[in-house]
C-alpha cells in the first residue's frame, strides 16, 4: 500500500512535467509578434492591431515574451556567435526589403519573420550593431535600421512583481531611465544629419558606459554557458520549477499564484460538494433502478438520465436562470432565488451570523450546484445501476439472503459497499470534467471562482494566468485520480494495486 502511494506520488511530478511540456509547446506556437496579434475581445470581434515595428506598442505582450524567454531560441542559443558579415547582410536586407541586390521585393510575411527574429537576436549582438552604425561606409538606410535594432536590443526588462528587493528596485530605476533615454535616441525621418550624428554618439556613449555592467561582451566561458541557459526551454523550466508564474497583466503587485489559489475555495466548493452529493444520490437511484430492473420505472429513469446526460450544461444553466430563478421563489417561502454570486454583497454578508451566512451561501449556490451536478449524476447513476446489478448476482448476496437477512441489511451492508467501489473511483476520476462544467456555471452565475478567473484571462489575453490555471486544473485532476485509487484500495481490501 505505502509503496504504491509513494510510487504514485513519484509519478505525479513526471505527469506534471509532461503537462508543463505541452504548455511549453503551445506557447511556443504563439504568434511571434505583439503587433501582428489579432485581439480576442468579448464581442468576439477580431481586431488586427496596427502593423508597426516590433519595438514599441503592446508592451505587456513583449514583457510576456521576455518573461518566458520567448524572444530566445528554443533549445540552443548560438546567437552570440553571429558574425559581423551576417549582421550587415541582414540589416541590408531589412533596410531594402530585398534578399539581395537583384532579388524582387520580399513578401510581407517573410519580411516580418526576418524582422522579428532579428529583433529578438539584437540583444546579443549589440557590439556588432554599434560597429555597423559607426562604420562610415554604411549607407543611410542600413544605419537607421541598425540604430532601431540597437535600441531594441539595448532596451532592458525591469523586474516585476511584489516584494522586490532594494537591489532590484534600484536596477529597475536604472533600466527605466536608460530605456527612456534610448527611446529618445531613435532616428526620426525629420532628423538632420547633425542630429543623427549627435544621437549616434550618444548611443555609443551609453554603450561604453554600460558595457561592463550588462556584459555586452561576455567572456568565452559565459558565452558557452549561454548556449544552454539563455534558451526558451531553460528559462521557462526554471520559472516553473521556482513556481514563479509572474504577475497579473494589469497589476504587477499581484502574483498569479496568489490570485488563482485565492479563488480556489469557490471552485472547490462547487466541484467537491456535487461529487459527494452525486455519490449518495446515484447510489440511491442505482438501487431503485436495479430493484425495478427491466420494468417501467427502471426504463423511464434510464431514459431520463440518458437525456439529462446528453443535455449540455450551457443549455441547462441559462434555462435555470431564466425559467426558474426569474419566475419562482424557494418552495414554501417568499425568498427569491439569487441569480449571481457566491454570497450576498459584502455589505450584507459581513453583518450576518455564522448560521445566516451558511444559509446565505446555500441559497446562492443552490442553482449552480444543480447545474453542475445533473450531468455527472446522470452518468454515475447509469453506472451505479450496472454495478448494483452485478453485485446482486454474486454468490455472497444469495448466501446473505439464504441466512435470512432483511432486504435493507443486504442492500446497505453487502451490496452498497461493494457497488460503491466502482462509483467512488469513477466519481473521483471525473473531477476534471466537473471543473470544466463549473467553469461555465461560474461564468453564467457570475461567481468569482477559478473558472471565471481563467475565462476572463482568456478574454483579456493574460497569458501568465492562462498558463498557471491550466497547470492547476491538471494538477487537481491528477489529485482526483490519486484519490480514486486510494479510495479503491481503502474500500476493497482485495485490491493490492501492485
Amino acid at each position: 500500500m505505502i509503496t504504491y502511494i509513494t510510487r504514485r506520488l513519484l509519478l505525479l511530478p513526471i505527469t506534471l512535467f509532461f503537462i508543463v511540456l505541452v504548455n511549453f509547446i503551445i506557447i511556443n506556437l504563439a504568434p511571434g509578434d505583439p503587433t501582428t496579434v489579432s485581439e480576442i475581445t468579448q464581442e468576439g470581434a477580431t481586431r488586427q492591431a496596427d502593423r508597426s515595428m516590433a519595438f514599441g506598442s503592446d508592451f505587456r505582450y513583449l514583457q510576456f515574451r521576455e518573461f518566458y524567454g520567448l524572444t530566445l531560441p528554443i533549445v540552443l542559443n548560438l546567437w552570440p556567435y553571429t558574425s559581423a558579415a551576417t549582421v550587415k547582410q541582414i540589416l541590408w536586407q531589412l533596410a531594402h526589403r530585398k534578399q539581395s541586390e537583384k532579388a524582387p521585393e520580399m513578401s510581407v510575411k517573410d519580411y516580418d519573420a526576418l524582422r522579428i527574429s532579428f529583433g529578438d537576436r539584437s540583444r546579443f549582438i549589440l557590439p556588432l550593431l554599434l560597429g555597423v552604425i559607426e562604420d562610415p561606409k554604411t549607407d543611410e538606410k542600413t544605419r537607421i535600421m541598425a540604430v532601431k535594432f540597437f535600441i531594441r536590443g539595448g532596451t532592458m526588462q525591469a523586474y516585476l512583481g511584489p516584494n522586490l528587493s532594494d537591489e532590484e528596485k534600484s536596477y529597475n530605476r536604472k533600466v527605466a531611465k536608460e530605456n527612456q533615454l534610448l527611446s529618445t535616441l531613435q532616428i526620426l525621418p525629420t532628423d538632420t544629419p547633425e542630429d543623427q550624428t549627435k544621437k549616434i554618439s550618444a548611443l555609443s556613449k551609453w554603450y561604453h558606459e554600460n558595457k561592463e555592467y550588462y556584459e555586452f561582451v561576455p567572456s568565452a566561458a559565459k558565452k558557452t554557458g549561454m548556449i544552454f541557459t539563455d534558451t526558451r526551454f531553460f528559462r521557462y523550466m526554471s520559472r516553473v520549477l521556482r513556481l514563479d508564474f509572474g504577475t497579473m497583466r494589469n497589476d504587477a503587485n499581484k502574483t498569479v499564484v496568489n490570485e488563482v489559489t485565492r479563488r480556489f475555495k469557490y471552485s472547490l466548493t462547487l466541484s467537491v460538494l456535487p461529487m459527494i452529493m452525486t455519490f449518495f444520490l446515484c447510489q440511491l437511484f442505482g438501487f431503485l433502478m436495479a430493484y425495478f430492473r427491466n420494468r417501467p420505472p427502471d426504463f423511464s429513469l434510464n431514459v431520463l438520465f440518458l437525456v439529462l446526460y446528453a443535455v449540455p450544461i450551457f443549455v441547462v444553466a441559462p434555462f435555470l436562470i431564466e425559467k426558474i430563478a426569474l419566475h419562482y421563489t424557494f418552495p414554501f417561502t417568499n425568498a427569491p432565488i439569487p441569480l449571481s454570486g457566491f454570497t450576498s454583497p459584502e455589505s450584507i454578508y459581513s453583518k450576518e451570523t455564522s448560521l445566516q451566512r451558511l444559509l446565505d451561501i446555500a441559497q446562492h449556490i443552490f442553482l449552480p450546484l444543480l447545474a453542475i451536478m445533473y450531468g455527472s449524476l446522470a452518468a454515475q447513476t447509469r453506472l451505479s445501476r450496472t454495478a448494483v446489478l452485478e453485485v446482486l448476482h454474486q454468490d455472497y448476496v444469495r448466501t446473505a439472503r439464504a441466512k435470512g437477512l432483511s432486504t435493507l441489511e443486504i442492500l446497505f451492508k453487502h451490496v452498497g459497499r461493494n457497488a460503491g467501489i466502482t462509483i467512488v473511483t469513477s466519481i473521483a476520476g471525473s473531477l476534471g470534467v466537473i471543473l470544466g462544467g463549473s467553469l461555465i456555471v461560474e461564468i453564467l452565475f457570475e461567481i468569482d471562482g477559478f473558472g471565471k478567473f481563467f475565462y476572463d484571462a482568456v478574454v483579456n489575453r493574460d497569458y501568465n494566468v492562462i498558463l498557471f490555471s491550466t497547470l492547476a486544473g491538471s494538477f487537481l485532476t491528477l489529485l482526483g485520480y490519486l484519490m480514486a485509487d486510494l479510495a479503491y484500495t481503502a474500500l476493497d481490501p482485495r485490491v493490492t494495486l501492485e
Partner: protein, 476 residues
C-alpha cells in the same frame, strides 16, 4: 452477416430506432441545407425560359464563403452515389465504388477551392440610362435583378400583418415606425432620393431621376413575368447575407422570421449550423480514432514495457482538462478557426479509444485463434489488423456515438463562450449571440439550444441502443 444481426437487433429498439432516424434527418438537413434555406430560387420560369439560379451559386465562393459549405454542397451530389454504391454493389466492388466517390468528392472540392468560380451575376458597367443598362445585361443578370426585387417585396408583404403593432410601439418611443425590411429600407431611400432630385433642375439630376423611375417601372413590369417560382423550402435567406430586420422587430414576429443581432436570418443560420456540428463531431472523432486505435492496439498486443509507457502517457494525457486546454490553445494561438478546434478536440479525445482497444487486444491476444495465426506464421501486424481488429470493433462502436456527442458539446461550448469561429453559423455562436443580451432577448438563445439538445439526445439514445445491441451481457 454479423452486421445484419446487429442491425436487426438495433431495429428492435424502438427508442433507438427513432433516435437513429432523427440523426439521419439532421444529417440530410445538413447536406441538403441549400434546398431548405437560400435566397436563390431552386427553379424559376422567367420570360418563358427556365432557370435554376441556386445551382449557379452552389460552388461559388463569393456566395458560400466557407470551404465547409462548398464541401457539403458537393456532397449533395456525391451522397446519392454513396448510397447507391452501398445498396447495389457487393463486397469488393462496393469498396471500389466508395473509394471512387470519395476521390471524386475530394478532387472536386480541391478544384473549387483552388480555382474559384466567377460571379454568375457580376456587376456590369452602369451607363446611367436604365434602358441601355437592361440592354447590356445578360439574361441571367436581368433575372437576378428581378428576383431580388420580387423576393424582397414578398418578404415585406409576409411581415405586413405585424407592422401595425410594431409601428405603434415605435411611435411611442419616437423612432422610425416603418418596418425595417430590406424592401422598405430601399423604398424609403428611393423616395427620398426622388424628392431630392425633383427639387433640382440640372440636367444630370433629371437624368438620374429618369433612371430611377425607369428602373422602378421596369422592375414592376418584369416582376409579373416571373412564373413557377420554387423557393427553398424553409427560409428565403442566405445565412451569410443581410436579411434586414432589427432587434426591436423580433418582439412582434413568429420564431421563423427572427433575425440575429447582426441582421442575418436566424432560421437559415440554424439550418446551416447542422453542418458545423456534424463536421466537428465526425472529423474530430475520426482523428481520435486514427490516433487512438493504433496506439491502443500496439500497447495491448505487445504488452510489456511498451504497454507500461503507453499506459502512463495515457494517464498523463487524460489528466488534462479538455475545456481548459481548448480555451488555452484558442487564446494563445489567437486562432478561432473551426478546424483548429476540431484538431484540439481530436488530439485530446483519443485516450478513451486507446484504453478500450488496448483492453480488448489484451484479452484477445491469448485466445486460441491468435495462437493459430501465430502458428501459421502470419506477421504480427497482419494478425492485429486483420484478425483481432474485427473482434475489437464492438467496444469502439459503442463508444463512438458518445465521443461524437462529446465533441459536438465541446465545440458548441467553446463557441458559446465567445471563442468560436467568427461569422460561422455554429449553434454555439448563435447561442452566444443570445447570451450577450440575456435574459431580455433570450428568444435568440433557445432555438439553437433546443436543436442542439435534440441532436445530442438523439445521438445518446442511438449510442445507448447500440450498446445494448452489441453487449448483450448488460441486458440481463
Amino acid at each position: 452477416m454479423f452486421w445484419k444481426t446487429v442491425w436487426k437487433r438495433f431495429y428492435a429498439h424502438r427508442l433507438g430506432r427513432w433516435a437513429f432516424f432523427v440523426v439521419i434527418l439532421f444529417c440530410l438537413v445538413g447536406i441538403y441545407a441549400p434546398f431548405l434555406a437560400s435566397s436563390k430560387p431552386i427553379f424559376v420560369v422567367y420570360d418563358g425560359e427556365c432557370d435554376f439560379p441556386l445551382f449557379r451559386y452552389l460552388f461559388y465562393r463569393g456566395f458560400y464563403t466557407k470551404p465547409l459549405d462548398i464541401f457539403f454542397n458537393l456532397l449533395m451530389f456525391t451522397f446519392p452515389a454513396f448510397v447507391l454504391c452501398g445498396l447495389f454493389l457487393k463486397e469488393s466492388r462496393r469498396r471500389v465504388g466508395f473509394l471512387f466517390c470519395s476521390l471524386v468528392q475530394i478532387a472536386l472540392f480541391l478544384y473549387f477551392i483552388f480555382f474559384p468560380l466567377r460571379d454568375p451575376a457580376a456587376n456590369i458597367y452602369s451607363p446611367g440610362n436604365w434602358t441601355e443598362e437592361v440592354h447590356k445585361m445578360g439574361p441571367y443578370q436581368r433575372l437576378n435583378v428581378v428576383l431580388r426585387y420580387t423576393l424582397r417585396k414578398k418578404e415585406h408583404e409576409a411581415l405586413l400583418p405585424y407592422a401595425e403593432k410594431y409601428a405603434s410601439t415605435m411611435k411611442q418611443a419616437g423612432l422610425n415606425p416603418s418596418l425595417p425590411t430590406l424592401w422598405e429600407v430601399a423604398r424609403e431611400h428611393e423616395e427620398s432620393e426622388i424628392q431630392n432630385l425633383q427639387s433640382q433642375h440640372s440636367e444630370s439630376a433629371q437624368a438620374k431621376l429618369k433612371y430611377i423611375l425607369d428602373r422602378r417601372q421596369w422592375l414592376e413590369e418584369q416582376s409579373h413575368n416571373l412564373r413557377f417560382l420554387i423557393m427553398p423550402l424553409i427560409s428565403w435567406f442566405h445565412w451569410e447575407d443581410d436579411a434586414g430586420g432589427q432587434q426591436a422587430l423580433n418582439h412582434y414576429i413568429p420564431t421563423w422570421y427572427l433575425t440575429r443581432i447582426n441582421r442575418k436570418d436566424l432560421t437559415s443560420a440554424l439550418i446551416f449550423g447542422v453542418r458545423t456540428s456534424l463536421t466537428v463531431g465526425i472529423l474530430s472523432v475520426g482523428l481520435a480514432l486514427l490516433i487512438g486505435i493504433p496506439i491502443g492496439a500496439f500497447a495491448g498486443f505487445y504488452g510489456g514495457k511498451f504497454d507500461i509507457v503507453v499506459s502512463r502517457l495515457l494517464e498523463i494525457w487524460e489528466a488534462m482538462p479538455v475545456l481548459f486546454m481548448l480555451l488555452m490553445v484558442v487564446a494563445i494561438l489567437q486562432n478561432k478557426s473551426i478546424f483548429l478546434v476540431t484538431l484540439v478536440i481530436g488530439v485530446f479525445g483519443w485516450t478513451s479509444f486507446s484504453r478500450y482497444v488496448r483492453g480488448e487486444f489484451f484479452k484477445q491476444r491469448s485466445l486460441s485463434y491468435v495462437e493459430a495465426c501465430h502458428a501459421l506464421g502470419f506477421k504480427n501486424r497482419y494478425i492485429m489488423f486483420k484478425h483481432i481488429m474485427p473482434n475489437a470493433v464492438a467496444p469502439i462502436l459503442t463508444l463512438l456515438p458518445f465521443a461524437i456527442m462529446g465533441a459536438i458539446t465541446s465545440e458548441a461550448g467553446l463557441s458559446f463562450l465567445g471563442l468560436g469561429e467568427e461569422g460561422s453559423s455554429s449553434w454555439g455562436v448563435l447561442m452566444d449571440e443570445g447570451r450577450t443580451a440575456f435574459p431580455d432577448e433570450s428568444y435568440l438563445l433557445w432555438p439553437p439550444a433546443i436543436l442542439l439538445t435534440i441532436l445530442l439526445v438523439a445521438i445518446a439514445l442511438v449510442g445507448d441502443s447500440l450498446r445494448d445491441t452489441l453487449d448483450p451481457k448488460l441486458q440481463r
